[in-house]
Symmetry: C2
Subunit: 399 residues, 2 copies
């Protein structure tokens, strides 16, 4: 049963815990409760989330119960320091609305009919201050400071507001409340998930096991896929968008995408990897991945159409001997989708030094949509389908 | 006005703050609010507390308002980890009872009629969890970890439970609630008192100033006077007990006691210090201190009687050429008032090495109440008036 879950690349704590939990569930003739936390400030799901969701679906298919815990308590508080503008306090209505959006996106991967959705404000709002003190007394400062990011910020003298230390405790308390058997998350959630184990034990309950799935990298090939980094493929992206974005991933991401984003069978994966080994053009492998992804979140026909659209848009230009390579460029911030010309060219052709790029621009070697641009500091709007020509042989089209 | 407060030995934060607060109060024709926190788990007041209380009395005499904040919120929670047996959760009735005891002892130093008594559970119980989060967000982890004892425990890997970090924040919030102008405490309260300044500022209120009085040492001459160390002179001790205990302080404590426990005038103090310089027997100086203390907490007649009682009890034996030196020995714990014979003798005559003491006992050189004791490990009850003879010339009587 465990083998069918294909958990090779995931982190399970404790190592033999899943086996025991499954055995226990069978003996007690009950379903396991599998928890996934959801932050209702960012309801847009992407392929990174899907890595975890697909594992949840496997548990659902085995007959276990998936419980989504909406973090409504903290979302309603927002960032109390007011520093993080992206974390404004949300009203109950906004939380409900985001949860609805989230649930409808979830249904692209898991079976919503069989999924239980709960809001943690239901129990956290009801805690009295003295109950909060009781809860906090179960955890030591040193434990919390072991969390990677806290530790780094503490060492770097970057302020950590006291309430931030409380949030992992709350996440753990959610597990106590729903009597969770297994908490799922990305590997960045390992610490918070183990908090649940500890609090369940101190509440004399059987501790959950923790399953953390690997984090998918974003289109930039460097950072994890994350909405705030604007490097995602969203589960609700249109087929053409999915296709183009997938074609834009760096070649180094191909194997990770095959592993984490496709539903190829083990045999199909093996055969694709063999092709790569035999020197197949990466472009063709990315097409296979793109079509597989579209098949999962749209359908077969959409995948075929997207391939045709892509070929028409980009590859037909082959005839004019100008192949515009699709390029996905992340802007520096959420609000400002612009980059200076020199930065844009440097990002597109990072085999050139910045000073080489500057010379090229100043000597008239760079065109945007056929217009020669000679000011390296000109701000360029990152508008899809903008075409950039750098030197004589490099052609890009923004996605 | 400031000079009359004689604040030379105290710590004031910020340095010129008191001057400004007094000026401000005068301009606004209002009294200053002076806060003292009180932990209702330990209602027995001693001379160490009186150091702070006398300063409060001076403010009262100047027309300002003293507010005692009873820490009823935390006392009712107790130690949630259950590790500190001395901090059992108290019922509302127990808190009330302890507060009554405390108030009646306060009246020995300050004017209770003019004193406002408030219970912090009145506002802390009413805080919702999200208000608690808001409050915690005002303070950073690094700030709290700067508190000496937290810092030491963190460095030593001694666990600090998370709720402990919350308590200084609560003490600060009390200052916000009562709109405190000045918070008083011992120097060990400096950190917690500055928390009040910070939280008042983040609540857009004028920050309190902090006045910390020096900590009086206990009868052992080493640790601070504290009930848990059993080294105190209580404000409600009987005159004879006060006299004997004062006579037992080590000579090194004489100047500190003159400064912090007596109400001698500046001239009287000078004259006593001159006597010490001129080689006066310390015994006689201690008698002056003892009588002064008894005059403050009982009366003149009680002081005189205590001196006579002491002389009769201890010094008349001079005739028999056996002067029993009064000795105050602290037991190791609150529950167990016993010490092994070897430890007792070593504490009484610490100019002898432990092995020397052992030899002396084994050779029959030690008597308790005229009975020769030869087992160094015999447990001796620390009963007042027990007489101990060590060697040929050392005679002690326990207080």
């Amino acid at each position: 049963m465990i083998n069918t879950l294909q958990l090779n690349t995931t982190l399970i704590l404790p190592e033999n815990g899943l086996e025991q939990k499954l055995k226990q569930a069978k003996e007690e003739h009950r379903k396991l409760k599998i928890k996934l936390g959801f932050d209702p400030t960012a309801p847009d799901l992407h392929l990174g989330h899907a890595v975890v969701l697909k594992k949840l679906k496997q548990f659902q298919d085995l007959g276990h119960e998936v419980i989504i815990v909406v973090g409504s308590f903290t979302a309603r508080i927002g960032d109390p320091t007011g520093k993080n503008k992206a974390r404004k306090p949300l009203s109950t209505e906004e939380v409900q609305h985001n949860a609805q959006t989230y649930i409808s996106q979830l249904s692209k991967v898991i079976d919503i009919e069989k999924t239980k959705i709960v809001f943690n404000s239901d129990w956290l709002d009801a805690l009295s201050f003295s109950e909060v003190i009781q809860l906090m007394s179960k955890v030591t400062v040193a434990q919390l400071m072991h969390r990677n990011d806290f530790n780094k910020r503490f060492t770097d003298n970057t302020p950590i507001a006291m309430h931030e230390l409380v949030y992992p405790i709350l996440q753990g308390f959610d597990s106590v409340k729903i009597e969770c058997d297994i908490e799922m998350g990305g590997t960045d959630q390992l610490f918070n998930c183990t908090m649940g184990r500890q609090l369940q034990e101190s509440h004399k309950k059987s501790p959950q096991i923790v399953i953390c799935m690997p984090l998918l990298k974003g289109l930039d090939g460097k950072e994890k896929m994350s909405k705030s980094l604007n490097n995602t493929i969203g589960l609700t992206d249109e087929p053409n968008e999915m296709f183009g974005k997938t074609m834009s991933i760096p070649d180094t991401l191909i194997e990770e995408f095959i592993d984490l984003t496709t539903d190829f069978s083990v045999e199909e994966k093996k055969s694709i990897l063999l092709k790569i080994e035999n020197g197949e053009n990466p472009m063709n492998i990315k097409k296979l991945i793109a079509k597989n992804i579209i098949r999962q979140y749209h359908d077969e026909a959409a995948a075929d159409l997207a391939e045709i659209f892509f070929s028409n848009q980009f590859q037909s230009k082959n005839i004019e001997e100008q192949v515009f390579e699709p390029a996905f460029i992340t802007s520096l911030s959420h609000d400002d989708h612009r980059l200076s010309l020199i930065d844009l060219c440097h990002r597109l052709k990072n085999d050139l030094s910045k000073s080489a790029v500057r010379r090229l621009i100043e000597n008239g070697g760079v065109q945007i949509d056929t217009i020669k641009m000679t000011d390296p500091d000109a701000l360029i709007e990152l508008i899809p389908q903008t075409k950039i020509k750098i030197g004589k042989r490099a052609f890009f089209e923004l996605l």
